[in-house]
């Protein structure tokens, strides 16, 4: 089973991101379970969403406490929530930020993990550029596809088209594609570093 935990704030699309990820996995014939954990819904309040992907039926209902991949939609959560709690040593991390791990004060922290699996990505910028809005969720799913290959970019785009229609579908798909390409370039650079 591949387990993803998404940290965001109310309004950023964390819950929708988990839903889209489950749709992307389902579209390739896999079992997927997505579910949120929020308090009384408030814009800006910390929100958690989870997605499990497996080749067989998923029965467990507990929250994901030891994620294989972590997506952080808002870097200010780093100061408020234990976002890295339970992350596996070989886990993947995507943080929506234009800053580096060092600039985020995480230079020491990244040492304990597989460096090539950790990335900060300017998902909000890419969302603004390609989707005309700041919601970074679709872009980060493109990034996840590039970083982990747990789902393909095609299936992410397919999920976006299933969930949204018209301009919103086109724009979010473009943001996902742009973020996928960004991560490909970053990984290329990392592997030559």
């Amino acid at each position: 089973v591949f387990q993803v935990r998404i940290h965001g704030r109310g309004g950023q699309g964390a819950v929708t991101a988990a839903e889209l990820l489950s749709l992307a996995a389902f579209a390739r014939g896999r079992h997927a379970q997505a579910f949120p954990s929020f308090g009384s819904e408030r814009t800006g309040a910390p929100v958690l969403a989870f997605c499990r992907i497996d080749e067989r039926e998923i029965r467990t209902r507990e929250p994901v406490s030891q994620p294989d991949a972590l997506i952080v939609l808002d870097p200010t959560l780093l100061h408020q929530v234990d976002v890295f709690g339970g992350l596996r040593p070989d886990g993947y991390v995507l943080i929506n930020s234009v800053r580096s791990f060092a600039q985020l004060g995480l230079a020491e922290w990244v040492g304990g993990f597989a460096r090539e699996r950790l990335l900060t990505v300017p998902a909000s910028d890419l969302a603004r550029e390609h989707a005309g809005q700041m919601r970074p969720n679709a872009a980060l799913l493109g990034a996840l596809a590039a970083l982990t290959a747990v789902v393909s970019l095609d299936s992410v785009v397919h999920a976006i088209q299933m969930r949204f229609s018209g301009r919103l579908a086109v724009a979010n798909a473009a943001a996902a594609q742009a973020c996928f390409a960004f991560v490909e370039r970053e990984r290329e650079a990392l592997s030559h570093a």
Partner: protein, 417 residues
Amino acid sequence: VLEQLEGSRAVARTVALCRAEVIPAYPISPQTHIVEALSAMVKTGELAPCEFVNVESEYAAMSVAIGASATGARAYTATASQGLLYMAEALYNASGLGLPIVMTLANRAIGAPINIWNDHSDSMSQRDCGWIQLYAESNQEAADMHILAFRLAEELSLPVMVCMDGFILTHAYEQIDLPTQRQVDSFLPAFQPRQVLDPAEPVTIGAMVGPEAFTEVKYLAHAKQMQALDLLPELSAELAVTLGRDTCGLLRGYRVEDAQTVVVALGSVLGTIEDTVDELRARGEKVGALGIKAFRPFPLAEVRAALAHVERVVVLEKALAVGIGGIVSQNVRNALSGMSADVYTVIAGLGGRPITKASLGRLLGVAQDDALAPMTFLDLNVELVERELARTRQCRRSGPHAENMLRDIGVVAAGAV
């Protein structure tokens, strides 16, 4: 056709396939997505003929459902938590009058302290109100249970409550195979009411009944509900043939046959329990699980037969009966009276506390060692309780427990700190 769907949407679409004709509803988390989706389907005409009634409260929702059902309409509503409490008086009227209303209960805790998360306090508080109660383990089961619920309700002229865990199921996306309209129509014929308010043939229902016949009316209510113990398995088998998959029945055992210790539970936690059972079995521990799908009527004989050979029964409950402890475990003890198995009560998952495989594994380990207390609160933060108790001993005006304990764990509650 398999689809990846939110549980609430799967239920809404199933209710539409069941051709509900009147849906009075009032929104309350975590049930809201269900009636939102239904109201949209009524508006677009996808669900027709159907009247969606925006009511001003849950009391009105159930009252409108009663009125609609009494005129021969297939009536449906959904609620949760405080909403269920608010309709409590009308719940007894629906069952007492023998009106086959179907209601989804998106299980949620009851305040105070106010809490929007999942447990079974709401449905358990109304377990004896005369409604049949079914508990879904997955969203597929929740969807299928609604088809069964309408048929069961209408055959017996009794209301049925389909309980599904709030958020854990209602807000979960997973793969679901919804039936076709044709499949549902072949299983669920048009509603033929046993009693109907019709201006052409005026009758009254809801007579006042004095001591001369009240006991007999109540006796029949019980006898009628008990018929579901035979009818539900029959209907489940019939629906299973129609749909080509297993449907709920009264109980479902998992690796119970040679088990020494069996966990009994209701609802979505069964999946987590089954995973835990597999992990313990891999280590040679003879454990199993028994899911109760129909809690009212309670399948006494079936529970007794399923657990006849078992040494220990651990009843995992998502509700607390203050002053006695377990609710499901009282019923299970009733089923096992005169037998030698030890029955343990474990209160778990209150107010949305996650029930984890790690905690369940430890719990079952202790049970297998015969070291489990008769009643346990799973993952209780004893230190937090002790600190508050110390405060109450130190000072008379120690303040409200909830706010004090939130402050202790660093969560800022509403109000001054």
